[in-house]
Point group: C2
Chain length 366, copies 2
C-alpha cells in the first residue's frame, strides 16, 4: 500500500478541483486535473477543457515550464500512453523530467488501462496509484460506465412535492419547483451527453430539453435529445426539432422515417420489450456514440420502467416544500412491485437546499 503525505493530499484535492472545471465541456472525454509540484510549491496547474484540445498534463507542463523538472505530477486519472487526438501524456511527462507521478485512479479505458503507468515506471519514474480514488471515480462515473459496461451512467431527474407528486391528475405541473431548481437542472443537462424522455412527455409538454444558460453553452455542446417512441408518434412540429443540437427518435419495428428525417431528427429502430422500446439496447447504442451520461427527464411510465429494469444509476430529486395530496400523479409507475420487499433502496450521497427546494442525490442500489 502506498502511503501519502498531507502535501500529496492537498495537491490531489486541488487537481480534483481543476478536473471539475471540465464538467460541462470535456465529454465524451473524461474530466481530468493535474498539479505539478515541488513539495509544497505548485509550479503548474492544468485541466482538460474539451475533446481534441490538450490533456490536463500537457496544460500543467506548459504552465510549469522548466520548473517541472524533478517535480511530482498529481493527476486525477492515469496519463494516456496512446496516440489519440493528441500525443501521449506519459511521454510528455518523461520529456519534462518529472520524477514522480501520483494518480488517483488507473484509466479503465482499454487503450490505456495501466500502460501509461507502465511506460513511466519503465523509464524510472516513481508511480503511485489510489490517492482520493473514490472522489476521482465519482467525477468520471459516466465515463467509467461507458468504457467498462458499454452503457452510459443513467441519472433520473424528478421534480416532486414532499408527498411524492409530480403533477396533478389533470397533468398540471408547472411549476412544482422554483427557478433556482430549474436552473440547477440546466447544469445536470450540460454535463450529460444525452437527455432521454418519452413520447408521452413530448406530446403533453413539448419540452426543449436543451441547455439555455449562457455560462453552460460556452463549449458549444448540446446534449443529444433521445425520445423513446416505439410507435413513432413524434410530431414534426415538436419544438426540439428546431433547436440547435440533435434529436434521436427511438422506435421499434418498421416505419417511414423520411418526414421526421426532413424535420431534422434521426430515427432508429431498436429491439422491442413488449410494447416498449428496449431501453437497454438504446443505452448500448448511446455508449457507442460516446455518451457518458444520460439524463432522464420523463414521466412516471419511463422512469418506473427504468427502475424496474434496474437501469437507473442515480436519482436527483428536487423536492418542493409542498403537499400536493392524492389527486396527483406519482414519481414512478412500477406495476411489478407489489410487496414492500420489492422497493428499491437508495444510498443518499448529497442533500442540499436549492432556492426554496431540497435537492436529494442518491445512488440506486440495484
Amino acid at each position: 500500500m502506498p502511503s501519502f503525505s498531507d502535501i500529496d493530499c492537498a495537491h490531489m484535492a486541488r487537481a480534483l478541483q481543476l478536473a471539475a472545471r471540465g464538467l460541462y465541456s470535456a465529454h465524451p472525454n473524461p474530466i481530468v486535473g493535474c498539479v505539478i509540484a515541488n513539495n509544497e510549491r505548485v509550479v503548474g496547474e492544468g485541466w482538460h477543457e474539451r475533446a481534441g484540445e490538450p490533456h490536463a498534463e500537457i496544460n500543467a507542463l506548459a504552465a510549469a515550464g522548466k520548473d517541472a523538472e524533478g517535480g511530482t505530477a498529481y493527476v486525477t486519472l492515469e496519463p494516456c500512453a496512446h496516440h489519440g487526438k493528441t500525443p501521449p501524456c506519459a511521454e510528455a511527462l518523461l520529456q519534462a523530467g518529472i520524477s514522480k507521478v501520483i494518480v488517483a485512479m488507473q484509466d479503465p479505458f482499454a487503450q490505456v488501462a495501466g500502460r501509461g503507468l507502465e511506460m513511466l515506471r519503465n523509464a524510472g519514474v516513481t508511480t503511485e496509484v489510489g490517492l482520493m480514488q473514490s472522489a476521482a471515480e465519482s467525477l468520471n462515473a459516466g465515463f467509467i460506465a461507458r468504457v467498462t459496461r458499454n452503457r452510459p451512467m443513467v441519472r433520473v431527474k424528478v421534480a416532486a412535492s414532499i408527498d411524492g407528486a409530480t403533477a396533478m391528475k389533470s397533468g398540471e405541473s408547472q411549476w412544482i419547483t422554483g427557478p433556482e431548481a430549474r436552473n440547477d437542472v440546466q447544469r445536470l443537462r450540460a454535463r450529460s451527453g444525452a437527455i432521454m424522455t418519452g413520447i408521452g412527455t413530448v406530446l403533453a409538454d413539448d419540452p426543449s430539453l436543451n441547455v439555455r444558460l449562457k455560462e453552460l453553452t460556452a463549449a458549444g455542446l448540446q446534449p443529444l435529445r433521445v425520445v423513446l417512441d416505439s410507435r413513432l408518434r413524434m410530431p414534426l412540429s415538436a419544438g426540439m426539432l428546431a433547436l440547435p443540437g440533435e434529436t434521436l427518435v427511438c422506435c421499434t419495428g418498421k416505419h417511414d422515417h423520411s418526414r421526421l428525417n426532413d424535420a431534422g431528427a434521426e430515427v432508429r429502430s431498436y429491439a422491442a420489450d413488449g410494447a416498449a422500446v428496449d431501453v437497454g439496447a438504446v443505452l448500448t447504442d448511446l455508449a457507442q456514440r460516446g455518451v457518458n451520461d444520460v439524463l432522464v427527464e420523463a414521466g412516471p411510465g419511463v422512469t418506473g420502467y427504468l427502475l424496474q429494469k434496474e437501469l437507473v444509476d442515480e436519482l436527483v430529486i428536487y423536492q418542493a416544500p409542498h403537499i400536493m395530496g392524492s389527486e396527483t400523479r406519482g414519481m414512478f409507475q412500477t406495476s411489478s412491485w407489489l410487496a414492500l420487499a420489492d422497493r428499491k433502496r437508495l444510498q443518499i450521497s448529497d442533500v442540499r437546499r436549492i432556492g426554496g427546494d431540497t435537492r436529494i442525490t442518491a445512488r440506486v442500489q440495484n
Copy 2:
C-alpha cells in the same frame, strides 16, 4: 426597545436549555427554565419538571440561596402572579431581593398575561421582555395554542418512502422506517397530551399508541389516546384498552357506550361533519381537558381531512431512503384539491438524519 448584552443572551440560552428538560413531564403546564445570575456568574438554575411541583423560578431561587439577592433572573416565560397549585413566582422573586427580571415572552395565559411583570415593576424591579422570544414561543407552541386559540397544537407524523408512499396497496407497511425513527416517534408521543388516530388504523393495525421507552415514562404520563370513530366500531378487544393511560373514543350521534366503558374506554359523541366526526369540536374538547399537543398517527383519510380543514400546525415526516413505486398508498387523501394552486405550502424548520432515515419537520402554512 430593550437592548440585551451578550451575557444576557448566554444566560437566556441556558434558561431555554433548562426549560427543555421538562418537555416530557411538565404538560399540561408550559415548560419553563430560569437562570439567576450576577453578571457572568450563575448563582442558581431551575426548571419546571411537573405540574403541581415548584415552578422554574422557585427551583432556581432555592439553588441560589442568599446569592440571589441583587441578582438578575432570566426566565423563559413571564413569572406567574396568581395562586395556582403553587404560590406566585413574582412574589418569591421579590422576597429573594432580585433586582432585575428578563423574560423571553409574556405569559399568554389569561390569569397571568402581564400581571406577573406588573407586580415586579410596581415593587421597583427592572423588567425586560422579548429576549429570544421566538425560541421560547416555539418551546411552548402547544401551550400557547391551547390558551390563546382554545385548541391544542396539532402535529401530524408520517412515515413514508422518498416517493411519498406510506404502505403498499395491500396495506403492508411494517416497517418503512428504521428502529431509530420509531424510537424518535416515542419522543414525539411523550411530549404530547394526546395521540389521535382513526378507527381504520385501529381495525387494520391495532396500534398501542403509548410511550414505551423507559427514560420517557419516568414522569408516569401517558398521552390520552383519541380514536375518531363516527359509527362507534371500536372493538372491545383493541389492544390499547388494556394499556396504562386513557382512551377516548369519539363518535357522532347516539350509541350504547356501556360495553366500551366497561372495557375501559371513555366514549363521547361530537358534532358530525358529513360522515365524519367534526375534529374541530374534538380539538376544542381536548384543549378544555388540558391537552397542549396532539400527535396524529393515522392513515391518509384522517391526515388528509385535517389538512383540508386547515387543522394541521406541524408535519413531522420520517422519510425512508427507498422508492416504493406506484402500487402504494399515499400520505394524504385530499379529494378537494384538484388544481396545483390547492397545494399546501410548508415552512421547513428542521431536517435531520435519524438512523438511516431523514426527519423533516415543517409548519403548515394555512
